[in-house]
């Protein structure tokens, strides 16, 4: 007993000591001033999913400009079809022996499985996230932040924003009160409205569809709690057949009888907008707001949420081990956590409209508080009641579930 206590004390002291000795903010940098000095004049190559031009122009306008003006860093945003492409690039570079600082990617917008692939292979730079000055605004004590799909973040990625799954309907076609509020009600809704519902094909491009299916697991098994933590094969095998049975029972009443499924959220919005189906999915706290103003859904579209089991998650920035401009990457990862810029990403008028990456209660300066308040007041009537969303919020689960669900859905529902 005593020995154990001694050991722990020793460990804590030595940890503290080692921190003092090296005093690193991130590997290779002793102070934030070092980072700033090294970053000057660098070009930061940011690899991110480029499918939303609202997000693209937000990054260019809100990060590109201050990076140039305040830090003399040039932003090179590289739009990719999926994060997987960036992961592949890092893997291919490793395979081709391009290590040290000779890679091509400085930052990847990442979470979940892609993060785990790179972290596990030791292809990430860090830990750096807790060393960023603005890390003080991040709610690191919240499992939804420090676990990414059930895996420890351990400072190898730094948060950007958050999102929560819920639904879109068209108020010109349906009433808010008539929309289903759990999967049981959804089943009835589907059989009463044949051909009017579909969901996104689970897969690399359609993680929203995978999420839709994970939530069925939570509801059928009676709750989300047992799914937290490492992958549990017994649990999965117990409930999976029941989920496939439910999905197959829907099939005849789905859009096109389940012969095809939309490949991503954009496809699903298109079906919804043209009146081919009556619901779509959204991840934005503003509900149907962003798509209404970009013109991809009808102006009468609104949001609704189930009362339980709506998965929310954080997304992050990670730096590959062979990033050529690590200092500039650190500056960028820090910049996006600035409270004013965080408020700007939630502010509907700016078009990005993702959720918070920081804990808003941790912000103490007046300017930041005012900006945050203003953003929250502007979410608009295309959004679901924030209270309902908050009550329904559950965290995402271990990344293995995603792989399993995607492969098994393919075999048990699509190929059936």
């Amino acid at each position: 007993m005593n020995n154990k206590f001694k050991f722990i004390t020793f460990a804590i002291i030595s940890l503290f000591f080692s921190k003092l000795v090296s005093a690193e903010v991130a590997p290779g940098f002793n102070s934030w001033d070092d980072v700033k000095a090294a970053a000057e004049g660098q070009q930061v190559n940011v690899y991110m999913w480029g499918g939303s031009d609202a997000i693209n122009s937000f990054v260019d306008d809100f990060y590109g400009v201050p990076l140039k003006n305040d830090y003399s860093i040039t932003l090179n945003r590289v739009g990719i079809a999926g994060t997987i492409d960036a992961v592949n690039q890092v893997l291919s570079e490793k395979e081709a022996g391009i290590t040290e600082d000779n890679g091509s990617i400085d930052l990847i917008w990442i979470n979940g499985e892609n993060f785990w692939t790179l972290k596990q292979a030791g292809l990430l730079y860090g830990p750096f996230a807790t060393g960023l000055p603005n890390s003080k605004y991040v709610a690191w004590d919240n499992p939804a932040v420090n676990l990414d799909f059930g895996r420890s973040v351990e400072g190898m990625e730094s948060p950007w924003s958050s999102a929560q799954f819920h639904f879109i309907y068209d108020s010109a076609r349906n009433n808010y009160e008539d929309m289903p509020r759990n999967y049981g009600e959804l089943s009835n809704w589907i059989s009463n409205n044949p051909g009017r519902f579909t969901y996104i094909k689970p897969g690399k491009a359609g993680f929203v569809g995978t999420r839709f299916i994970k939530q069925i697991f939570f509801e059928l098994s009676g709750g989300h709690d047992q799914w937290v933590g490492p992958y549990n094969d017994e649990l999965y095998t117990k409930w999976a057949p029941k989920v496939w049975r439910l999905l197959n029972s829907w099939e005849e009443n789905l859009h096109r009888s389940g012969e095809t499924y939309p490949a991503n959220n954009a496809d699903m919005h298109a079906l919804f907008a043209n009146g081919e189906v009556d619901m779509s999915f959204t991840q934005s706290p503003r509900g149907a707001g962003p798509t209404n103003s970009s013109g991809t859904t009808p102006l009468t579209s609104r949001a609704f949420s189930f009362f339980k089991n709506m998965i929310g998650d954080f997304n992050y920035w990670a730096i590959p081990y062979n990033a050529p401009n690590k200092a500039a990457a650190l500056i960028y990862a820090d910049l996006v956590l600035e409270p004013i810029l965080q408020a700007a990403q939630v502010q509907p008028a700016n078009g990005f409209c993702c959720g918070w990456g920081i804990g808003t209660d941790k912000v103490t300066n007046l300017e930041g508080i005012a900006a945050i308040k203003d953003a929250q007041n502007n979410l608009g009537d295309a959004a679901e009641d924030q209270g309902i969303l908050a009550k329904a919020l559950v965290s995402d689960i271990a990344a293995e579930y995603q792989d399993k669900i995607e492969a098994d859905w393919f075999a048990n529902v699509l190929l059936k």
Binding site: D53, S92, A96, H269
Partner: protein, 287 residues
């Protein structure tokens, strides 16, 4: 009877032309409409929003010439992609002609052993699909540092282009009489003068066809650029492809118009050259 048949033929032509032009109509309506959903046949809201979002036209309140210039010079993705496509296309076209010229001359004018085998090797990329070689090439290019480089992309574009350029120009040289060159040389013209005054005018029409074809193939190349460019070399087809899956038809349509407009223009002015019989025509099926 015969006039009836003729009438049917003419209607068939009109129908064919209509079907051919229908997608183009759809592109133009989509590109200038906003919230154009089923069942509207004519859009209720006309808008330039897609062009504004592509950063080709400034926002509504400041559309002066200076604002246009400023916007374009701020180097938005679409301008970057347009310039990349254009530069790669021109480099590849010029390079393929220069490389193919001597080979085509030899193949067209001389007979030698292994000629058939050499031609067979030369045309093999026209039959086997690009996916068969580019996946294997990808790793090699990464380790050579050619992946993600401008040069690497140009190099790989040469593969589908080379066979057609060589074949087309071989065809020209097969009907070409080199005796004129000898005469010019005996009359005292030097090598360059001979080429410039005798050879070039004779092969120019065919060369235009080959060049045109080379440029079009490079311009519309997606798979090779995507894999060898490694996301760093953005060209128009890559932009069109990724936008097509982002669910905004107006944006996709506007981009597609930017993508096809230059080629339509080129072919419109060059169509009189293409009508001759040449091997390059067989490449047009693969654009």
């Amino acid at each position: 009877m015969n006039t009836n048949l003729k009438k049917i033929n003419i209607y068939a032509i009109y129908l064919g032309a209509f079907i051919l032009i229908l997608p183009l109509i759809a592109f133009f309506i989509n590109a200038f409409s906003f919230r154009w959903f089923y069942p509207q046949l004519v859009p209720k809201e006309l808008s330039l929003q897609a062009w504004v979002r592509l950063k080709l036209i400034p926002k509504i309140d400041n559309r002066s010439f200076d604002n246009f210039l400023e916007l374009w010079l701020s180097n938005p993705t679409i301008i970057k992609a347009l310039l990349n496509s254009l530069t790669i296309g021109l480099i590849v076209t010029i390079a393929s002609i220069i490389i193919a010229l001597p080979a085509a001359r030899v193949l067209g004018l001389l007979n030698f052993r292994f000629k058939k085998i050499i031609i067979f090797i030369m045309i093999s990329p026209t039959i086997l699909p690009p996916i068969a070689f580019v996946l294997g090439l990808n790793i090699n290019f990464i380790s050579l540092g050619l992946s993600g480089s401008f040069f690497g992309v140009c190099l790989v574009h040469l593969v589908p282009i080379m066979p057609y350029v060589v074949l087309t120009m071989t065809g020209i040289f097969a009907n070409y009489n080199p005796d004129f060159e000898h005469q010019a040389r005996t009359l005292g013209a030097n090598k360059f003068k001979t080429f410039y005054l005798i050879t070039l005018p004779a092969i120019a029409p065919g060369m235009v066809v080959a060049a045109l074809f080379a440029f079009l193939v490079s311009w519309s190349q997606y798979l090779l650029t995507f894999l060898i460019g490694a996301g760093k070399i953005m060209t128009l087809p890559l932009l069109v492809f990724s936008t097509a899956s982002s669910g905004n038809p107006a944006l996709t349509a506007a981009l597609s118009i930017v993508f096809i407009f230059p080629t339509i223009l080129i072919l419109f002015f060059a169509s009189k050259f293409v009508t001759g019989d040449s091997s390059a025509k067989y490449g047009l099926g693969k654009l």
